[in-house]
């Protein structure tokens, strides 16, 4: 039987078409349009082509350099804490302790509660005059009057980090826990027979075995934290004096707050480029880890 090959060749494309169209409309077109907009001085009343002027201005601005530095500091500190706390939490939840199921449920609320609701709760906690944290600190004698956690530059920055870690840690914990549960018991038993202590078993067995999940979660968490907007916006709107303004907040303020769509688009393109670099590292590492696993 002779099959007419040319007719069959279109079939895969026909099947792919809906997804391709969807990606073109939802992803590709907005990206292209954002890039085009970044080459204009688009404002409320119209736009004209300005070439790479927006990028040039951004790169010359010291304020923008500070925003970039702050964004990376925010991201590395927050992700570092999430990973450490996630590992500690998952280890505890994986231990054979009574009421383990209950603890596993209790770790979920920060992740389950809508971020906006959680942040409004934190906003109250941080309030100088009506807030729980300031009240407790006064009662136990740590401070002698109310303290506004969001009123000063450094405390506001670290307070926003605490909230971001609170929101992001449960998911990391759950993923690490799932990975830990997949580690073969035989490995632990063999190590135990050989006299390995708890710390050695954790360092030599658990960590290497769940390393692909640690890498994946670190990189994904970096992307999410880099783009974390609502937490900062609800708590401080980027203030005071820009102390909590990260790149995504700066982009929003410029494009939506000030209706400078062209300048905002240039910032958005920079975000895409930086996240593209993270994604590249992510895929490279995943590839390497997969190869490593295949060899093992």
């Amino acid at each position: 039987m002779i099959v007419k090959k040319s007719k069959l060749d279109f079939y895969p494309y026909f099947l792919l078409a809906p997804s391709l169209i969807f990606i073109l409309v939802i992803v590709a077109w907005p990206l292209i349009e954002t890039f085009r907009l970044s080459l204009t001085d688009a404002r409320l009343g119209g736009e004209s082509y300005v070439g790479f002027e927006n990028y040039q201005e951004l790169l010359e601005k010291k304020k923008f350099h500070r925003v970039i530095t702050r964004t990376f500091f925010w991201m590395f500190l927050s992700v570092g804490l999430k990973i450490l706390l996630g590992l500690a939490g998952a280890t505890l939840l994986n231990a054979a302790v009574p009421g383990r199921a209950l603890f596993r449920v209790l770790v979920m609320p920060p992740w389950v509660i809508p971020i906006a609701i959680g942040c409004i709760g934190w906003l109250w906690l941080y309030n100088s005059h009506f807030g729980l944290l300031s009240g407790i600190a006064q009662r136990i004698g740590l401070i002698d009057g109310p303290f506004g956690f969001l009123a000063y530059k450094t405390p506001a920055f670290y307070s926003a980090i605490v909230t971001d870690v609170w929101v992001g840690t449960p998911m990391v914990t759950i993923f690490f826990l799932a990975a830990m549960q997949g580690v073969s018991r035989d490995l632990y038993e063999a190590a135990w027979v050989d006299g390995a202590g708890r710390w050695h078993r954790f360092r030599r067995i658990t960590i290497p075995q769940i390393m692909p999940v640690i890498v994946t979660m670190s990189l994904l968490s970096m992307i999410w934290t880099f783009n974390s907007f609502e937490i900062i916006w609800i708590l401080t709107e980027g203030g005071p004096r820009g102390a909590t303004t990260t790149l995504i907040v700066d982009t929003y303020k410029t494009a939506i707050g000030n209706w400078k769509f062209g300048e905002g688009a240039a910032r958005a393109v920079i975000i895409v480029a930086l996240l593209g670099i993270f994604s590249f590292f992510y895929y490279s590492l995943i590839k390497k880890l997969n190869k490593f696993e295949e060899r093992e």
């Binding site: 404002r43 409320l44 009343g45 119209g46 309030n127 100088s128 005059h129 009506f130 009057g145 109310p146 303290f147 506004g148 969001l150 009123a151 000063y152 530059k153 401080t236 709107e237 980027g238 203030g239 005071p240 004096r241 939506i256 707050g257 000030n258 209706w259």
Partner: protein, 410 residues
């Protein structure tokens, strides 16, 4: 076949007529964006009467919460789908006008004469009125008399900044409350409250005649220096507070005084022992206030601007406007008109000392500056104010920087 074609043609003509008639009905579908999250009964009554008097006209009122209201109208206009009319802060008018998104207001000469002094300045750019003034407010200093007396000072109006500081310090030192509530959050009322003090010190932001930048001045330095001094007797961390949050502190007895609009009496605890007094005068000026208005703007490109003007005029004049200004069922605002000139013989503010405080300052008041990029203007002010509240820099440097940054916006 011919018969068949004939009936198809008739059916098509019939369809065209039906479509045409429905089009003519929809031709005057006015879209009115109202801020506040709910449609006030008084507005609905005016709109219903307007619809009844203008057959074929339909008005769709969309009530949007304060926080997103202005942005919604601007976004719709930028996207080419403008509302017919919208309630906007008057500070946005210059940006809207410069970007060709709104059309000039058509205010009758009778109404122009009836407006309080300075009101029209808040909607005027280069001689053209760009909005119908809708809501007007001035500010006063509210003092909690219980706290003042507890601190051992008489509950009387401080007339200058030294007396103000002394009173705030007495409350701060002798009670559990802070002397004064200051606002310093990234918020528009941080700028507004600073302007209240600046205008009470003979300061200016823009010269109304020449349009020149007047921010970098001795008056501004003195005003910022007042903030520097007051921060020591204010509530903890003013940069985390905007006006409504300071109001909560005031109601809770945690600050002795703060600056608020005429609605203050209505939002404070019932039976509170308090006085509302004029803003104390600075060393270089006389007691003044900030004249701030919101307006109804008529957007360009809705296709029925004339009808939109008519609706805006109806809403912002006569009884409809009075119903909004009065505290009985309205918002309790500083009267936008001298209502006696409009034939209302016994307006709500007449012979009332409380309202006199808000009305008497109008003459020495200054407008909210009209610049195209008003959000950037707000950032310039907030940055300067937060700079002094956080002790980041000196008064001199902060005012100089603000002056330079403001130059770029003019």
């Amino acid at each position: 076949m011919e018969e068949y074609m004939k009936s198809i043609k008739l059916a098509l003509i019939g369809l065209l007529l039906v479509a045409g008639s429905s089009f003519s009905i929809r031709a005057a579908d006015l879209h009115f964006i109202m801020c506040g999250g709910e449609v006030r009964e008084a507005d609905q009554t005016v709109v219903d009467a307007f619809v009844a008097n203008n057959p074929g006209v339909n008005v769709n009122i969309e009530a949007v919460p304060w926080g997103t209201c202005q942005d919604k109208s601007l976004t719709l206009a930028a996207a080419g789908d403008p509302p017919s009319i919208a309630y906007m802060g008057s500070r946005t008018l210059r940006q809207l006008a410069n970007n060709d998104l709104i059309v000039p207001a058509k205010i009758s000469s009778d109404l122009m004469e009836a407006y309080q002094t300075g009101i029209l300045n808040t909607v005027t750019v280069k001689g053209t009125h760009w909005g119908y003034p809708r809501a007007f407010s001035t500010k006063a200093l509210f003092i909690n008399c219980d706290l003042a007396e507890q601190a051992g000072v008489a509950c009387e109006a401080p007339t200058n900044w030294d007396e103000l500081y002394d009173m705030a310090k007495a409350i701060n030192d002798n009670t559990d409350a802070a002397g004064i509530g200051l606002v310093g959050k990234d918020f528009d009322n941080t700028m507004h409250q600073f302007l209240v003090w600046l205008y009470s010190n003979g300061g200016q932001v823009i010269d109304l005649q020449t349009g020149a930048n007047m921010l970098d001045s001795q008056s501004t330095r003195e005003t910022l220096a007042l903030y520097e001094k007051l921060v020591g007797v204010a509530q903890e961390g003013p940069t985390a507070f905007e006006r409504s949050q300071v109001k909560d502190l005031y109601n809770d007895g945690q600050v002795g005084m703060y600056v608020e609009g005429p609605w203050g009496r209505g939002v404070h605890n019932e039976g509170m022992n308090e006085i509302a007094v004029p803003i104390p005068a600075g060393p270089s000026g006389v007691s003044g206030t900030l004249l701030i208005t919101d307006s109804i703007a008529v957007f360009k490109g809705s296709g029925h601007e004339d009808m939109a003007h008519k609706l805006a005029t109806t809403l912002t004049s006569g009884e409809s406007q009075y119903a909004l200004d009065t505290p009985d069922g309205g918002w309790g605002l500083t009267p936008i008109f001298d209502y006696e000139k409009l034939g209302i013989s016994d307006p709500y503010y007449k012979g009332d000392d409380y309202w006199a405080v808000f009305i008497n300052g109008i003459g020495a008041g200054g407008p909210e500056p009209l610049v195209e990029d008003f959000k950037s203007m707000q950032s310039v002010f907030v940055n300067m104010i937060q700079g002094i509240l956080l002790g980041d820099d000196t008064v001199d440097n902060l005012v100089s920087i603000a002056g330079e940054e403001f130059d770029e916006l003019l």
